[in-house]
Subunit: 121 residues, 2 copies
Amino acid sequence: MKEFLAITKALSDEGRVRILLALRGGELCVCQLIELLALAPSTVSRHMAILRQAGLVELRKEGRWAYYRLAGEEAPPMVRRALDWVVESVGRNARAQEDRRRLKEILRIDKEELCKLLKEG
Amino acid sequence: MKEFLAITKALSDEGRVRILLALRGGELCVCQLIELLALAPSTVSRHMAILRQAGLVELRKEGRWAYYRLAGEEAPPMVRRALDWVVESVGRNARAQEDRRRLKEILRIDKEELCKLLKEG
DNA sequence: TCTACAATTCGCCATACATCGAAATGTAAT
DNA sequence: ATTACATTTCGATGTATGGCGAATTGTAGA
């Protein structure tokens, strides 16, 4: 029950749901999610910790960068079904499509460049 | 997205999840849920309002009594899948089984009798 | 009409959570 | 070694949420 509630709580924030949907296209760097959601780095980092604690996303660290991806096939059925449910329920949402569009643009920018831009404003 | 978040928020409280699982056996009166969860009537009523707003349960009023049941087949797929997910994830939980046992006993008591007992404490 | 009563709504309190900026962490480059 | 920098952790603040008791609502019976 605790694990289940960790998932439902993780899913009960719009920003975190948007993150999960954005990760459908493959792993993303934290700075890319910061740009997408327009939130403070500390806030996004906290969101990722919550998603990770719930088992919904996995982390890969490479140098200074942190890449997050959706939980894989080996994840517990409870988690897999949660992710499927999210995608089927809000994957075609207006907000989700807008994010998809913006994400394409964000991915065009080099990561290093993107981080610089974030600092300036 | 708003409807989806209404569901995830509704599901992110243990008491409300227990209520949904208890309703698997068919509709229940509010006083029966009060007894099962050992919460104040006002609290249970609020929980039911949240579940109803999310579309997860339906209400039937009969005289002074209010009966709640799980959303039916005609409910949106998002809701149906949520309920299926809940049942499959925590339906066999220890807490859920204990509730099932206690619910059997509660259902043996006449509703009028049960309400009287609740007043006394 | 008046009373009893199941359920709901309201007002209040304590706790949990989202957010931010500042400080800390750890890695890469100079 | 030192600096630069992506990310995380920490501390503070405002808002949301769960809980209760009191007051309200609406229905059934006296």
